[in-house]
Amino acid sequence: MISVRRVQKVYPNGVTALRDVDLEIAKGEFVFLVGPSGAGKTTLLRLLFREEVPTSGAVIVNGHDVGRMRPRQIPYLRRQIGVVFQDFRLLPQRNVQENIAFALRVIEVHPREIKRRVAQVLELVGLSDRGFALPAQLSGGEQQRVALARAMVGRPVMLLADEPTGNLDPQNAEDMMRIMLEINRLGTTVVMATHAAHLVDRARQRVVAMADGAIQRDELAASYHVEVTR
């Protein structure tokens, strides 16, 4: 599903964000990206949905070499990828349903199909009764679930989340985590960058720990910190 091969990323200002990163993620996996701020987690995620291109090396997503992709192919790559950010990024003047439907309208899905899928995905995130609320009328946790619904409504094969619980209180963060694990259980590959150690520890999924632009640790069914053998 995802294959990152000897990837280096140097930004124009000279900062090296990734050094020689190798990473393989199979279809259906759930992967936590952990590590301190500036470790390169966000850059790695941005490479996966072609918001950035690698300085050297190759990023293969779903069979496409993302770095060498022609610009007009990018939209079609992104239709296979759902993305959630720390700061929700909802459209304030549109209600919940419209925010989610927006993602399908701009890829020209039939209105009847949009209606059906919006209802489905609202149920998935537990907001079926808030369809007509504006983002400002929702709690942070609800707003992030709307963003998650928008990311999932296009039925992507993979979900990328960049600190999705960073702005949420513990209860909402746990709800969010539960929904993301459910999404993964239904077959979507999930890559989640996070600082929320307790969520990582509880989930017992694959953990890729980064520091200073390089991968330090890559373990299955792991926790946030290096585990001392008990």
Binding site: F49, P71, R72, P75, Y76, L77, R78, R79, V83, R89, L91, F102, A103, R105, V106, I107, E108, P111, R150, G154
Partner: protein, 295 residues
């Protein structure tokens, strides 16, 4: 794109316009005014040109006979000249008639001519007008070659000065029009750019969920076309209507002026303005599009 996608783009464009109505109105009015100025200058230029052309074709070439030429020879030369294909009218002006005309032109100062007494220093001449203005010079040359003709004159200076004036007017008008067009282009560009800034978040999300770049662009293209188009429709309608109105009132009060009938020209100018206005909108988008890439 599908029809409902066009509707989506149009709706987005409309929201951009409604978000900043003052700027939209400013764009539309500057476009309308600049196009209108351009149109008015075009119309003036076309008409002044027509008037000048008709004035030039009415310019008479005078061929003066030597004193010793007999009236019968003058009459036969007149017949010859009338046979030329480029000649429209030809008439013999005797020196007596010429003196009478001169007195008339002098008006109440005609007394100065009394000092001539019975002597008439003038000569018999042929007064010839050409079919076409560009024939005037040829006619003058051929007249000069006639036997008995000592010299010829025509008012080329007046005509060339008139044409120079028209040219100046045309250049000034065009320059003002072009400057105004640049001004309205800047206003339109600014309106589109503000729309882009206001829709920054939307554009980000559209790209994130896999909207094609053309779908990202079209709302702004439409915005430009709407701004330029409404201005152009106003300008071309106003130009057309005012030309027809001005033409009819001018024909009534100044029937001798050879004005250009509105039937093809007003429509052509109105169409030209319409096309220019729409082009302004398109170019306005083209200028702003680089900003869009950076969002």
């Amino acid at each position: 794109m599908r029809l409902r996608t066009w509707a989506f783009c149009l709706n987005e464009a409309n929201q951009n316009l409604l978000r900043n109505p003052v700027l939209a109105i400013a764009s539309i009015t500057t476009t309308a005014v600049s196009l209108l100025v351009l149109g008015v200058f075009l119309m003036l230029s076309v008409n002044v040109n027509a008037i000048a052309t008709s004035v030039e074709s009415q310019v008479a070439v005078r061929a003066f006979f030597a004193k010793n030429v007999s009236p019968s020879q003058e009459a036969s030369e007149l017949q010859t000249v009338r046979g030329w294909s480029e000649v429209r009218t030809a008439a013999l002006v005797t020196k007596e008639q010429a003196l009478a005309q001169l007195k008339q032109q002098f008006g109440n100062q005609a007394k100065v001519l009394d000092s001539l007494g019975s002597a008439n220093p003038l000569e018999d001449s042929l007064s010839v007008t050409a079919q076409k203005p560009q024939d005037v010079k040829d006619v003058a040359t051929r007249l000069a070659d006639l036997s008995g003709v000592v010299h010829t004159t025509y008012q080329s200076a007046v005509v060339s000065r008139l044409f120079a004036l028209i040219n100046d007017v045309r250049i000034v008008g065009l320059a003002i029009g072009v400057l105004l067009l640049i001004g309205s282009l800047l206003v339109i560009t600014n309106a589109i750019r503000l729309g882009m800034a206001a829709r920054r978040r939307e554009i980000g999300i559209m790209r994130l969920v896999g909207a094609t770049e053309s779908l990202v662009h079209w709302p702004f293209i439409l915005e430009g076309l709407i701004l330029g188009g409404i201005g152009a429709i106003a300008a071309s309608g106003l130009a057309y209507w005012s030309y027809v109105a001005a033409y009819h009132s001018a024909v009534r009060s100044l029937p001798f002026l050879p004005l250009v009938s509105p039937s093809p020209i007003a429509r052509d100018i109105a169409l030209l303005l319409l096309v220019l206005g729409i082009l302004l909108g398109a170019v306005g988008f083209r200028i702003s599009v680089r900003r869009l890439a950076r969002i």
